[in-house]
C-alpha cells in the first residue's frame, strides 16, 4: 500500500533541542532510539520509512536497524492512524468482564468498522490490544494519551461524542 506522506524533517529547531536533552541521559546515541521514535511519532503522527531514515541519520544507525526496532514494538504506528487512536484491552481479565462487547460498540458507534481500520472521516482507528495493566478497571480504553477506566458498552456513546 502506498501512503501519501507530507514529509518534513522532524529533528530541527525545538525538537532537535529536545533530542539533545534526551541524548544526555544515555552513554551512547543508540540508547536514545526509543525516545527519539516517540518524539518523531509525536511530531509526524506515525513512523514512516523516511522518518526511520532520519532517525537513523541523527543517531548514527542504519535505517534497517531502526526498522528492526520499530517493528518489534507495538506502539509505533507503521502507517497513518485516525485522529483518535483507541486501544481496547481484551485480554482474559477484561474479557470476562465484557471487553469484547466494548470493542464491538466502539467499532460500530465510531464508524471505524473493523479493528485496525481507520474510519472514512479519518477520525477513528480502533485496535484490540493485549493487557493494558488496569485489570481492576475493566474495561480500560486508551484514547490517544487519555486512559479511560471502567468502560462498559453503555458508556461508549458518551466516549465517542467526547472525542469526535
Amino acid at each position: 500500500m502506498t501512503v501519501q506522506e507530507d514529509y518534513q524533517p522532524v529533528f530541527t529547531g525545538r525538537v532537535l533541542e529536545e533530542l539533545q536533552t534526551v541524548l544526555q541521559r544515555y552513554p551512547n546515541k543508540q540508547a536514545a532510539l526509543l525516545p527519539a521514535l516517540w518524539l518523531a511519532q509525536r511530531e509526524h503522527g506515525w513512523i514512516s520509512d523516511r522518518i526511520m531514515a532520519e532517525v537513523a541519520e541523527v543517531l548514527g544507525l542504519t535505517p534497517a536497524y531502526v526498522k528492526g526496532v520499530v517493528t518489534f514494538y507495538t506502539m509505533y504506528h507503521q502507517h497513518p492512524v485516525g485522529k483518535n487512536f483507541v486501544q481496547v484491552c481484551t485480554t482474559s481479565p477484561c474479557n470476562i468482564c465484557g471487553a469484547e462487547e466494548v470493542l464491538k460498540a466502539l467499532l460500530a458507534q465510531s464508524g471505524a468498522g473493523d479493528a485496525g481500520a481507520t474510519s472514512p472521516d479519518g477520525k477513528w482507528t480502533i485496535v484490540e490490544v493485549e493487557c493494558l495493566g488496569a485489570c481492576g478497571f475493566a474495561t480500560p480504553v486508551l484514547v490517544n494519551d487519555d486512559f479511560v477506566e471502567n468502560v462498559t458498552p453503555d458508556k461508549v456513546a458518551d466516549l465517542v461524542r467526547k472525542y469526535r
Partner: protein, 426 residues
C-alpha cells in the same frame, strides 16, 4: 483497597497508605508525611549497611520471582571498577496485575526514594525507571515528581532517568528490559552472564520491581525487625504485599495484606465475593503466568511464596484473576495463550511456534473442530515449551494450559464431543 480508596479493616496498610490522597503525590506533601527521611538516613550509611538491613528484613522481589532483594544487591561487585546501574522495572504488563501502576499514580516519591536508596546500596550513579508505554498517566506523574525531587536536590550524587517503553510485554523480562533501554529489540539475553556481572550497557546492574523498591524506605525507617514481624507465620515470606484482584468479584482493586493472608478472606471479605447469584469457579493467584487453582484449592490457599506453591500455583506478581461459573475456561485459556503468542519475541522455536500452535489448537476446539488427540497434543507441546527457552514466557503460556486441562478437562471434552455450542473465534 477497593475504589473509591478506602482500606478494609483486615488490610495492613503500608505501601497503600496514601493511595487516593492527591497531596501525597507532591514533594511537599510527601516530605510532610516523613518522605525522603529514609533516603537521608541511608545516604549517611555505608552501602553494605543499607544492604544488610534489607537482607535482614527478608524482603523478596515483588515482580514475580520472589528473589531475596538484599541478596541480589550483594551480588554487585564489592570493589567498584566500572560504572554500576540500577534498573527499575515499571513495565507492569502481566495480565491481572495493576499494583505498580497504582504506586506510581499515588506515591511516585515512594518509588523515587526507594530507587535512590537502592542505587546507593549498589553504588550506582545512574538509575533508569522503565515505564511501559501505555502508562501515560503514571508517566506524567512520575515525570513531575522527579522534577520536584531534583529541584529539591535530595538524591545526592545519584541521577534518576525515566525511560518509556513502546508496547512489548517481554520487556518486563529483566535482560529484555536492558536491551530495550539500549535502543534494541526487546529480546531476552542468555544467562549467564547475570546482570550483576554484565547488565545494562554490559556493566554491573541490579534490577528491581516498583513494589519492591517502594517497600525499601519503610524498612530503612522502621527497621528490619518491624518488617519481618509483619509476616503471619512464615519467616521466609515477610512484610506486606499488594494483591491486585480483578475479574469476577464485586469490589476489584489493590488490597495490601501481610504475607500468609488467606486468599479466601481476600476474595470474600475484601472483594465482596462473586457477583450476585454466581459462584467462584477458578482463580489465578499470581498473574496469568501461573497455574490455575480450582475453587477448593483457592479456599485453602495462603498468600505467601511458599503457601501458594503448596496450593499448586505460584505467588508471582500478586495479580489475582477470578473466574465465576459463567466463565468459559477453554475460551479464557485460549485468550491467555493468544496473549503469549502475541508477546513472544520469537527468538526461541519452542516459544514462537508453541505459543501460536497451542492458541490455534484451542481456537479449533472452541470452533467445534477439535480432534480427539488435541488435548494430548496440547500437553505434549506444553512440555516442550517448559524449561527449554531463554526466558520463561514460553513456560508462562504452558502453565495455564496444563493446569487448565488438568482441572477443567470436562469443559474441553464437552467441546470435543460436540456437547457445547461452538464459539466463533475472532
Amino acid at each position: 483497597m477497593g475504589y473509591p480508596h478506602k482500606s478494609h479493616p483486615k488490610e495492613t496498610v503500608v505501601l497503600s497508605q496514601y493511595f487516593g490522597d492527591a497531596d501525597a503525590r507532591t514533594f511537599k506533601g510527601w516530605t510532610k508525611r516523613g518522605g525522603y527521611e529514609a533516603l537521608a538516613q541511608s545516604l549517611k550509611l555505608d552501602p553494605v549497611a543499607v544492604t544488610d538491613v534489607v537482607k535482614e528484613s527478608g524482603l523478596r522481589g515483588r515482580g514475580g520471582a520472589g528473589f531475596p532483594t538484599g541478596l541480589k544487591w550483594s551480588f554487585m561487585p564489592k570493589e567498584k571498577k566500572r560504572p554500576h546501574y540500577l534498573c527499575v522495572n515499571a513495565d507492569e504488563s502481566e495480565p491481572g496485575t495493576f499494583k505498580d501502576r497504582e504506586i506510581m499514580r499515588w506515591t511516585p516519591h515512594a518509588l523515587l526514594e526507594g530507587t535512590a536508596i537502592a542505587a546507593h546500596a549498589i553504588r550506582a550513579e545512574v538509575a533508569y525507571i522503565y515505564i511501559r508505554g501505555e502508562f501515560t498517566e503514571p508517566w506524567t506523574i512520575m515525570e513531575r515528581a522527579l522534577a520536584e525531587a531534583n529541584a529539591a536536590d535530595v538524591f545526592g550524587d545519584i541521577t534518576i532517568h525515566l525511560h518509556r517503553g513502546a508496547g512489548a510485554y517481554i520487556c518486563g523480562e529483566e535482560t529484555a528490559l536492558m536491551n530495550s533501554i539500549e535502543g534494541k529489540r526487546g529480546n531476552p539475553r542468555i544467562k549467564p552472564p547475570f546482570p550483576a556481572a554484565a547488565g545494562l550497557f554490559g556493566l554491573p546492574t541490579t534490577i528491581n520491581n516498583v513494589e519492591t523498591l517502594a517497600a525499601v524506605p519503610h524498612i530503612i525507617k522502621r527497621g528490619a525487625a518491624w518488617y519481618k514481624a509483619l509476616s503471619l507465620s512464615n519467616p521466609k515470606s515477610t512484610g506486606t504485599k499488594l494483591f491486585s484482584v480483578c475479574g469476577h468479584v464485586q469490589r476489584p482493586g489493590n488490597y495490601e495484606v501481610t504475607m500468609g493472608f488467606p486468599l479466601k478472606d481476600l476474595l470474600y471479605d475484601m472483594c465482596g465475593g462473586p457477583p450476585p447469584g454466581r459462584t467462584f469457579k477458578a482463580c489465578i493467584p499470581g498473574g496469568s503466568s501461573v497455574p490455575i487453582l480450582t475453587r477448593e484449592e483457592t479456599d485453602a490457599c495462603l498468600l505467601d511464596y511458599e503457601g501458594v506453591v503448596a496450593s499448586g500455583s505460584m505467588l508471582g506478581s500478586g495479580g489475582v484473576i477470578v473466574f465465576d461459573d459463567s466463565a468459559d475456561m477453554v475460551y479464557q485459556i485460549m485468550r491467555l495463550a493468544r496473549f503469549y503468542a502475541h508477546e513472544s519475541c520469537a527468538q526461541c522455536t519452542q516459544c514462537r511456534e508453541g505459543t501460536a500452535w497451542t492458541t490455534k489448537i484451542m481456537e479449533r476446539i472452541l470452533a467445534g473442530q477439535g480432534k480427539p488427540t488435541d488435548l494430548d497434543l496440547l500437553l505434549d507441546l506444553s512440555e516442550n515449551m517448559t524449561g527449554k527457552t531463554i526466558c520463561v514466557l514460553s513456560d508462562s503460556c504452558a502453565a495455564p494450559i496444563v493446569s487448565g486441562i488438568k482441572k477443567f478437562r470436562g469443559e474441553f471434552e464437552a467441546y470435543l464431543a460436540g456437547k457445547r455450542q461452538p464459539v466463533m473465534v475472532g
